[in-house]
Symmetry: D2
Subunit: 363 residues, 4 copies
C-alpha cells in the first residue's frame, strides 16, 4: 500500500478485516506500507498492522512477494505508481480521482490493459449497502424511467478563513478543490445509478482567495475551487444537478442524492448511510419510507450484524476490497474500473471547461 494517512488508514482496515467477515478467495497479507518519512511510515506500519515499512514505492511495487498494489496517495502521484505497478504485473486498486488529468488517467488505463492486471478505482460509496440497494432497485425497474438526479455533496471544514492552505487547496497537488475531491463522488454515483453524462453546464467558485500556510502566518493563494455547481444532461434523457461545496456550515459529510423516476423515487444521505429513502407509487398511502439497509438480504449486510445494527464509514472500503479480490479470482475487471475513472475524469474536465466558457460543454 502506498500512502498511510486518511485513506491509508481506511484501506488498511479493509485489508485486515475483509477475511474476518467475508468468505474471500484469498487471505490478504498486509506486506508493505510506503511513505516518504521513514519514522512516520514505520509508525504507520505498526499502528495499521503492516509487516514492513518502506520509503520507496518503486522498490515496493517491484517486489516479487507482492500481488496487489493499493494507491492511497494524493492525485498527482497516482499515474506513476499505478503504471509502475501494472508493469510489474501487480493488480492495482487506486484511490479516486483516478488522476488529476484525463491524459494521466489514460496512461494508467493503457498500462493496466496492456499488462492484463485487474484494476479498480476506489469510489467506495458505490459499496455503501444503501447505494448498492438503490442500484439494484433501479435495475429491477422499480423506479421506472428515470427523470431526475439531484446530487448534493456538502462539507464545512474550510469555512473558517483562517483554515490553512493545505495540499488539498493547491492545484498542483490536488488538481482541483471540491470538484475532484467530492463532486467526483457525486459524478460517480450519477453515472452508476443513472448512466453516462452527455453535456454539462458549470460554475466554480473560490470564496476565500488566500489562506495562511500551515503553521505559518504567511498567506498563500487558493487556486482550487471551494464550490462547484453543475447541470447535467444524461444520455438516457434524464437531467440532473450536482453541487459540491466545502462551505455549507453544519453539513459534515453530506453526500446526498435523490433520483426521481416514473414509478418511484429514492433519496440517500451519507450521514445516515444505513438508510435509504424509498418512494414507490402505490396510491394515497404512499410516502417516502426509511428502509434500514441492515437486512441480511441487502448488499454486503449478511456479513455483518442483525437488522438494525448499523455499520460505519470504513466498511465501504472493506466491501470494495472484497469485490476487488473476487474479481482478481474470477479474472474479471470489477466496476468501477480505470475506464470508469477516465469517464469520471472527463466529466470533471467538461465541468471545468463549462465553468470557463460559460456555456454547456459536451463530455
Amino acid at each position: 500500500m502506498i500512502g498511510h494517512r486518511f485513506m491509508g488508514r481506511a484501506h488498511s482496515n479493509a485489508w485486515r478485516q475483509v477475511a474476518r467477515f467475508f468468505e474471500t478467495p484469498f487471505e490478504p497479507v498486509l506486506k508493505v506500507v510506503c511513505g516518504r518519512d521513514p519514522q512516520e511510515v514505520e509508525r504507520a506500519a505498526n499502528e495499521l498492522g503492516w509487516e514492513e515499512a518502506s520509503v520507496s514505492w518503486r522498490e515496493t511495487v517491484a517486489r516479487p512477494d507482492i500481488d496487489v498494489v493499493d494507491v492511497c496517495t494524493p492525485g498527482d502521484t497516482h499515474a506513476d505508481i499505478a503504471v509502475a505497478a501494472a508493469l510489474s504485473g501487480k493488480h492495482v486498486l487506486c484511490e479516486k480521482p483516478l488522476a488529476n488529468t484525463v491524459a494521466e488517467a489514460q496512461r494508467m488505463l493503457a498500462a493496466v490493459t496492456a499488462t492484463g492486471v485487474t484494476h479498480m478505482v476506489c469510489h467506495n460509496y458505490r459499496r455503501v449497502p444503501a447505494v448498492a440497494l438503490a442500484k439494484r432497485l433501479i435495475e429491477e425497474g422499480r423506479l421506472g424511467r428515470l427523470y431526475h438526479f439531484r446530487g448534493v455533496y456538502l462539507q464545512d471544514w474550510i469555512v473558517d478563513p483562517e483554515f490553512p492552505r493545505v495540499w488539498r487547496l493547491e492545484k498542483s497537488k490536488a488538481g482541483s478543490g471540491a470538484l475532484g475531491d467530492i463532486a467526483s463522488h457525486s459524478i460517480d454515483l450519477a453515472r452508476y445509478l443513472v448512466g453516462e453524462i452527455e453535456e454539462v453546464a458549470g460554475h466554480l467558485e473560490t470564496f476565500i482567495k488566500e489562506r495562511p500556510l500551515p503553521g505559518s502566518e504567511e498567506m498563500a493563494p487558493v487556486d482550487v475551487d471551494d464550490a462547484v455547481l453543475s447541470l447535467l444532461k444524461f444520455e438516457g434523457g434524464a437531467v440532473g444537478t450536482i453541487e459540491a461545496t466545502r462551505f455549507a456550515l453544519g453539513r459534515k459529510n453530506y453526500n446526498s442524492f435523490e433520483v426521481n423516476g416514473s414509478r418511484g423515487s429514492l433519496a440517500f444521505n451519507l450521514e445516515r448511510m444505513n438508510e435509504l429513502e424509498l418512494y414507490v407509487e402505490e396510491g394515497p398511502e404512499s410516502g417516502f419510507r426509511t428502509v434500514q439497509v441492515t437486512d441480511a438480504s441487502h448488499p454486503y449486510m449478511k456479513a455483518w450484524w442483525p437488522p438494525g445494527h448499523i455499520i460505519g464509514y470504513e466498511h465501504t472500503f472493506t466491501h470494495t476490497v472484497h469485490d476487488f479480490l473476487l474479481a482478481i479470482d474470477e479474472g474479471r475487471i470489477p466496476s468501477p474500473s480505470f475506464e470508469d475513472g477516465i469517464r469520471n475524469q472527463k466529466v470533471l474536465d467538461a465541468v471545468e471547461r463549462a465553468a470557463q466558457s460559460r456555456s454547456w460543454e459536451k463530455v
Copy 2:
C-alpha cells in the same frame, strides 16, 4: 376579486379571516367575485362568502363601492385587469407570476405607479412564519456572509403521461410550466433572502411532449417545461441553484431551500412549513435544530395559537392580505411590489434565454 378557483378560494379565506385574528386598520367587506361562467361564479360567491357575483371584471373593477381588486386569474389576463383596476384607482393585489412577460409586467407597474395605488404581488411564501423568521435571522447577521442558496421545488402531479393537457400546460395561457408556476416562488425566495440575481445558466425540459386534452382522447402538444434547472450568481457574491419540477414522485409540494453562510445555515421545506432548520456554529455540540416556528415572538404567530399548535397553507394568504391592508393604511408600497414582480419576471426571462442560448445570461 377576479377568479374563484384554487387561488380564489385561498384569497377569499384570507379576506374573511384576516380581521378575526389580526387587528387590521379596515374590516374587509367581500363585495364581488368575478368569473366567466354565471352559474359557477354564483356558486362560488355563495360558497366563499362574497356578497355578489359578476361575469364582468371590467364592470367590477370600475365600481365606486370597491377599494381593492384582487387578481386571481391565469397569468395571461393579469395585465389587463390590473391596469384597468389601477386606472379606476383601486389598490391591486395580484397573484404571481405578475405577468407572462416582462413587457406586460412593466405596463402594470407603470399603471399602478401613475395612479399611485398600492400594489403587491402575492408571493405568499414570504409570509410563511418560518420564512419570515429566516429573513429576520439573516438580517440580524446570524448567518454571516452568505455563500450558498439551494432552492428545490418539487411536485409530482403530472408524472402520469395520461394526466390531461390542462391550461397550466399551455404556453399561451400559462406562459411557462414549472418555471413560472413554481420556480418563480423559489426565485422570489432567493431574492428575498439573499439578494438580487446577476446571472444565470439554465435548462428547460419537457419529458412528456403530448398529452390528452381534458375529457378527451385527442392528444395535444405540451409546449411548456416540465422541469427547470438553473445556476445563479448573486450580486453579493453568493452562488445558487434552483430546480423546479413536476416530475418528482412522492414530493407533493416540496418547496425547499437551504442557505449557507459564514456563521450559520438554515433550511426550510414547505411540507413542514411550521419548522425552520437552523444551524448556528457554536462548537462541537452544534447541529441543525428544528425550530417550531409557533412562538408568539415569531412573525405573525401571536395572532394564532399557543406554541406547538401549527398553522396551515392558507394562513400565508391571510398574512399577505394583512400586510397589504397595513400598507394601504400607511400609504406605503409593501413588499413584494409589482417592481419585485418585474425583477422576478426578468430572472425567469434570463433562465429561458439561457436555456435557449446554452450559455450564462445576465438578468
Copy 3:
C-alpha cells in the same frame, strides 16, 4: 357558545368556517357568545364574529332562537351548563374533559339522553386527518392484531418554577393537571384506535409544589399533577403506556402515539399533524413511510387544498363541528359522545386511584 378564550376562539373559527369549506346540512349562525366579564365578552363577540354577547349562560341556553350550545368553559362548569342546555332541548357540544368527575359526567349523559338531544364531546384530535386515517387503516385490518399502544403527550409550558399558579394548576377548577388536560387526549386516542381499557397502573407527580399567584408574589400550592405515567391493559389483549407531562423542555405540543400490530405499525405526532408514519410489513425494503395526509382521498382533506398543502390546528375543530352538524341532521349520536366522555373520565379516575393505591386498578 359559552366561553371565549383559547377554546372559544378555536370553536368560533370552526363555526364560521365549516360551511365555507364543507357542504353542511345547516348554515351555522353565530348567535351569542357568553362570558363573565361584560367588556371582554363584548370584545370577543366582535373579534370572533358573534352577533351578540351575554354574561348569562343561563339566559342564553334558554333562548328559543338557539339550537346548539357549545361549552368551552373550564371543566368545573360543564355539568351545569350542559344539563341546562339539554333541558332546553339544545344540542350540546362540550369541550373535554367532559367533566371533572365521573358523577358529573353521568349527570350530563342522563340529561342529554332523557331529552334526546345530540351530544358530543370535543376530542378534536380524532378529527386530525392523519388520526382518522390511522383509524381507517386499523379498521381495514392493515395492522393486523394490535399488540402495543404507546401514547406520549409532552409539553413544556410550566417548566419555569416562576410560571404562575393559573387556574389550570388548581384542582378545584381544573380537576387535575396533565392528567385531565392532556393525558385525557391520549386516552381518547387509545380508546378510539385500540379499544376499551380494562386496567391501569399509574403515577402522578408534582415537581413544583408551589408557585406565585398570577401577577403577585404570593405563593400558592399546586394541587394538580405536573406529569402522569401509566400502564394500560386493553380488553382486546393489547398493552399500552400513556405518559403526559408539562415538563418536557423542547416539546411544545408533542401529542404522539405509536401502534404496533401483527402486520404493521403506525406513528403520529401532533407537531407534524399532516403526516402519518406507516409501516407495512412487505419484505426487506419495508420501512416507516411518511404519508402526507393531504390527499383528497384522505379523511376531510377533499374540502381543503391540493396534496402537499397542509392544514393547521384549528381545522380539527372545523371537522368536529362538521360531523356534529351531520349527526344532528341525521338524528344520530356522533362519536365521541358523552358516553365516550364518561368512559374517558373513568380511565382518568382509575389512573388516579392507581396512583393512590400503588396498585393496578380496574377501570
Copy 4:
C-alpha cells in the same frame, strides 16, 4: 473468550481492532476461543482470528498464558465461568445481563472482589459516543435538574408466530425475555444517565404462548415475556418509563431514550447511533438539534474518522474493551462493574415482582 456466536463475533472484532485505532497499554493477543461443538469452535477460531480453539472453558480459564477471560455465553452459564476465571486470577469481562438471578450475580461479585481481579459487565451502549456525550452533558449540568427518563427499546424479530422457540425464548436458559435481553440495556442507561432506581411498577406480557421448536413442527411453550412495561421512580426525584418489546413491527433495534431536565432535553435512538438530539433552552429559536457525534472532541471519536464519517454497532465493543484494558492497567474497577450488574439485576427482579404483585415494588 467463551462463546463465539453473535456476541463472540462482536467481542472478537473488538479485541482485534482496539490496538489498531487506540493507544492501549497492552497489545491484546487473541489466544483461545471456547465453544461446545469442536468443529464449530475450530471454524470460529479461524474466522474470528483466535490462535486456538477449545471445547473446555474450564481448562481455558485455568491456563497460565491467559490474562483476561471474556464471557459471551447465554446468561445461565455466566456465574460458573466468571467465578472460575476470577479464582484463576483472570480479569473478567462479562456479557450482560450479568446473570439470570441476583443470587448468581452476587456470587460473581464476591469472587472477583475476593480475588481482586478487574471486572466489567458489557453494557456496550454506554460506549456509544452519543450516549457518552449525553452523560457528559448531564454531568456538566447542561440539562439542569432531571425530571423525566423515557426509555423505549423496540425490536420485531419474533412478531411472526411461526418464528421458532429458540433459547432466548426459554426461561431456563435466558432467564427472561425482552426484560433481561433488552430492557436491561434501557435500565443500565437509565441508571447511567439519571441515577439509581428506587421503585417500579411493571407488566410482563407474552403474546404468543407457544411456538414450534427450531427445525421442527412440535410446539413448545414460550415461558418468557415478549414485552415488558414499567414505571420508575428514581432516587433523585425524577420519574421514568421503560418499555421493551420484540413485537414492534418496523423497529429493528430501536433502543431509544429521552431525558428532560429543567434546562434542556436530549434524545437518542440506536438506529441512528451517531446522532444525539439535544435541546437547550435559549429563547424562541431553540429547537432539538441533531448533533452529529463524530467530532474529534466527542468521546472515543478521535480514534476514528473525520467529522460526518460515521461508525457502526461493533465499535461500541471496541470502546468497551479499550476502557477495560485501561482499567486493568490503572488497577481501577471500570464502570459498569459487576456491582452495576447486580444493581441492574435487582431492578429487573423488582420489575418481575411488580408484574407479579400488581403493585409498585421497591428495588
